[in-house]
Symmetry: C2
Subunit: 404 residues, 2 copies
C-alpha cells in the first residue's frame, strides 16, 4: 500500500533534543519504500496553514545527523493553539498535498491539536495517520515516565545549582534562582541533583505543587542561613499562594498574557528580584543575590543528557513504526522498564491530550521544601553519563598563634 | 636556604578554574624540600586576619587534583578590600606564623593587596616573598594577554548565545541577555563567538567601552528586527550613558553598593527587564524576552575551556617557581607567544595593581555594536577544544497547492 507523503512539524518551546525526534522520523521513514516524500512544516501548525513546507527527502543523512545534535527546533516552532476551525484548515491543507501521515512533536497543546485533526480526518473519511511525539522540558505529559527534553533541561538545572552552590560557599549569602515550570515542579526539583555533600545547596526548594506563603518562606530562609551561614534556594516560576494566585502576580502591575491565556512567567527576572528584596528587607541579610535561569535552561548548547538524546531519537523512530505497522492514531509514550531502561507505547490521543501531570506526593518531602530519595532515584539515570562532579578540601586546621 | 611556610589564598569572585591555580601552587611547592608547610587561608585576606588556616600539606595529591577540576574557590573567598591598616595586620599574622611566601590569587583589588603587604614586609625588613596570581572573568588585568577564568566564562557566554539564537530562531522575537562586566566588555563581546551563520544572533552587542543611548538602541533593534524578523541582543551590565551614569541607575531607586563602593550590577534582573519594557512599549514588538546570565556565567559546572584550565594551573606553578628561583615580588602575567601558545612573566606589582584594562578599539567594530575579526581571532583559541556546534536544514521548498 502506498503511504503517500509524510508531514512532520514541531510545536511549543524548543528543547535540546527535539531535533533528534525530527531526524528520527525522517531517517526511519526513509526505510519505507512506499513513502513518496517527507515534508517538514516551518513553524508548526502555522506553517501548515501557510503551506510553508520543506522537502526533507532532499536533505543528506549526514546533515540530518548534525541537525539532530543541534538544540532548538530546526523547522521552527509556534505558540499557536489551534481551535476547531484552525484544525479544519490544517486538515484541508494535508488533504490538498496528499499527506498520508502527520507527525507532530510537542507537548500537551500539540497533542490536543493532533487529536482534533485526527477526528476531522476520520469524519471526512480521509485516510490520515496522526501521531503525536512527546516533547516538553516541563515533564508534565500524563502517562509518560518522563518526556524528551526534560532530562537535558534537568541536567542544566542540576549543573547550574552545583556551580551556584560552590559560588555561594565561597562568598556566603543567600542565593535564589528561579526555574521554569508553570504547573509542574519537576525541573525545579532537579536542582536537588546538584547537591553532593549534606550541607550543600539547594537548602530549600519551592514547587508549584505546594502553596507558597512569604512568611513561611522567610522563616525557612532564616533557619537555613543560621544553620549554614548561607542559603541556596530553588524556586519554581509557577509558585502561587493558597488561593492559586501566582506570587509574581502580587507585584506585577501589567501581566502580559500569551495566546494560551497564560501569564508570562519566563523572560523576566521579576520574581527572583522580588524574593531577594523581601529577604534583604525583612531578614536584614546583606548579601542576597537572585538569578533567573530563563531561556538558558532549555536552549543552552553543550549540556545534553545522552539518555535524553537517545530517547528523543527513539520516540521519532517509534512514531513512524507505529504509523506504518499499526492500526491507530495515538501519542508515543515513554515507559520505564528497568533501572535504567525504557520502552515505548502508542497511547490513545485522548489519554494524553490537554492533560497536565504534576509531581507525585512521593517525590516531595513532608517539609514541602525538599525532594525525596524516590525522586533522586527517578531522575538520576535520566541525566545521563559524564555528569561533572564537585570536590572539597578536607579539614586540617592550623592552630592560631596570635588569636584566641 | 629554608623557605619557611607558604601561605596561599583566593580573593574576589570565584571562577571555573581558580582552584587549578591553588593546586598548581600546592603541588609545585611540594617539589621544594625546603618548604616546611603549605597553608591555605579561608576566605582570602579575612581568613588571614582571623588566622583561619588549613594545612594543605596534609591533603592528598589525588584529592587536590579533584578539587582543581572543581569550580568555585575551594578555600573560600572575600570581597574585603584591605586598606593600609588591614594590610599591616595581615603582615603581622604572616610574621607570627613564620610565613616566608605569600601567594594571593585574584584580580585588580587582590594585586593591590599584595603590593601593600609586600611594601610592609620590606619596610619591616622581614623576608617575605609576595606573588600575585591572576584571576578574573572580566579579563580586565593590564599587561596580560588574558586572565585565567575569563576563557571559561567566555565559553559559557558563547554557548549560551549559540543556544539562545537557536531558540529565538524557532520562536522569533527580541531576546536581550545581560552579561557580567562592569568596565570591560570582553565577556559580553564573547557572545559573538556563539554566532555561526551570517544571520545568526547576537545581532547587536553593547559594551561599556561605548556610550549607550536608549534612542540609538531602540533604532538598532528596530533595524535588525525588520531585517531578520527577530533580534538577539547582548548587553553588558556596565553600560552607561555619555555622562558615565549606569543605565541601570536610571531606574533603580535604591542602589546597593558593595564594600568597594561599586554599584551592585549583578544578582538582579532589573537591567534586562528595563530594556525589554522599553522595546515593548516603544517599538510595539510583542514577543520580547530578557535573561540575565547572573552567576551562572562564572559558576556553571561543566563548561570549562581546557586551555583555561591548563593555564590556570600553570600560573600557580609559575608563581612558585618565580618565588623560589627569583629575586622579586610580582604578579604573574600571561603572554601570547603563538597561535596558539602562551608563556608567563613576572611583572612588578605596581604594573598591574589597581589598574583596569578595557577592550582595545581594534576589537570593536566601527558601528559600536559588534566585534571585529581581530577579536574573534584573539578569543577563539582561548575557548578550547570541543566547542559544541550548530547546524541547519538546507532549503528545499515545496510548491504550494492551495495558496498563492
Amino acid at each position: 500500500m502506498n503511504a503517500g507523503k509524510i508531514l512532520v512539524a514541531q510545536g511549543g518551546g524548543p528543547t535540546a533534543v527535539i531535533n533528534q525526534s525530527l531526524v528520527g522520523v525522517v531517517l526511519e521513514a526513509r526505510r519505507f519504500g512506499n513513502v513518496d516524500r517527507i515534508y517538514g512544516a516551518h513553524h508548526g501548525v502555522r506553517g501548515i496553514l501557510n503551506e510553508d513546507f520543506v522537502d526533507l527527502t532532499r536533505e543528506t543523512s549526514h546533515n540530518l545527523e548534525l541537525v539532530a545534535a543541534t538544540p532548538g527546533s530546526a523547522l521552527g516552532s509556534t505558540r499557536d493553539k489551534p481551535d476547531l476551525k484552525y484544525c479544519q484548515q490544517i486538515f484541508q491543507v494535508l488533504r490538498a498535498h496528499g499527506i498520508g501521515h502527520f507527525f507532530y512533536i510537542g507537548g500537551n497543546d500539540s497533542s490536543d491539536t493532533v487529536r482534533i485533526v485526527s477526528n476531522e480526518a476520520r469524519q471526512a473519511g480521509y485516510p490520515l495517520r496522526c501521531i503525536h511525539i512527546p516533547k516538553t522540558i516541563d515533564n508534565d505529559l500524563v502517562a509518560n515516565d518522563h518526556t524528551p527534553g526534560f532530562p537535558s533541561a534537568a541536567r542544566f538545572v542540576a549543573q547550574a545549582f552545583a556551580g551556584a552552590n560552590l559560588d555561594n560557599a565561597a562568598l556566603p549569602g543567600v542565593y535564589v534562582a528561579v526555574v521554569m515550570g508553570r504547573h509542574a515542579g519537576f525541573l525545579t526539583a532537579a536542582s536537588a541533583l546538584g547537591k553532593k555533600f549534606p550541607d550543600d545547596g539547594p537548602h530549600l526548594i519551592y514547587l508549584p505543587e505546594r502553596d507558597f506563603a512569604i512568611e513561611a518562606f522567610l522563616g525557612d530562609v532564616k533557619t537555613m542561613y543560621e544553620r549554614h551561614g548561607r542559603c541556596v534556594v530553588a524556586v519554581s516560576e509557577g509558585i502561587h499562594d493558597a488561593s492559586g494566585q501566582p506570587v509574581l502576580a502580587q507585584l506585577a502591575k501589567e501581566l502580559e498574557r500569551d495566546a494560551h491565556g497564560n501569564v508570562q512567567l519566563s523572560g523576566s527576572g521579576a520574581l527572583a528580584d522580588l524574593l531577594c528584596e523581601e529577604i534583604k528587607a525583612r531578614l536584614g541579610i546583606k548579601r542576597v543575590r537572585g538569578d533567573t535561569f530563563g531561556y538558558l535552561q532549555r536552549s543552552f548548547i553543550g549540556c545534553v543528557s545522552d539518555v535524553d538524546a537517545r530517547e528523543a531519537r527513539e520516540v521519532g523512530e517509534k512514531a513512524v513504526q507505529f504509523a506504518m505497522w499499526g492500526e491507530h492514531d495515538g501519542s508515543v509514550a515513554i515507559q520505564r522498564t528497568g533501572f535504567y531502561s525504557a520502552d515505548y507505547q502508542l497511547l490513545p490521543l485522548e489519554a494524553v491530550a490537554g492533560k497536565t501531570r504534576v509531581m507525585d506526593d512521593a517525590f516531595i518531602a513532608p517539609s514541602g521544601t525538599d525532594v525525596t530519595d524516590a525522586f533522586r532515584l527517578y531522575l538520576r539515570p535520566l541525566l545521563g553519563s559524564g555528569m561533572p562532579d564537585a570536590y572539597r578540601l578536607r579539614p586540617a586546621p592550623v592552630a592560631k598563634v596570635l588569636g584566641t
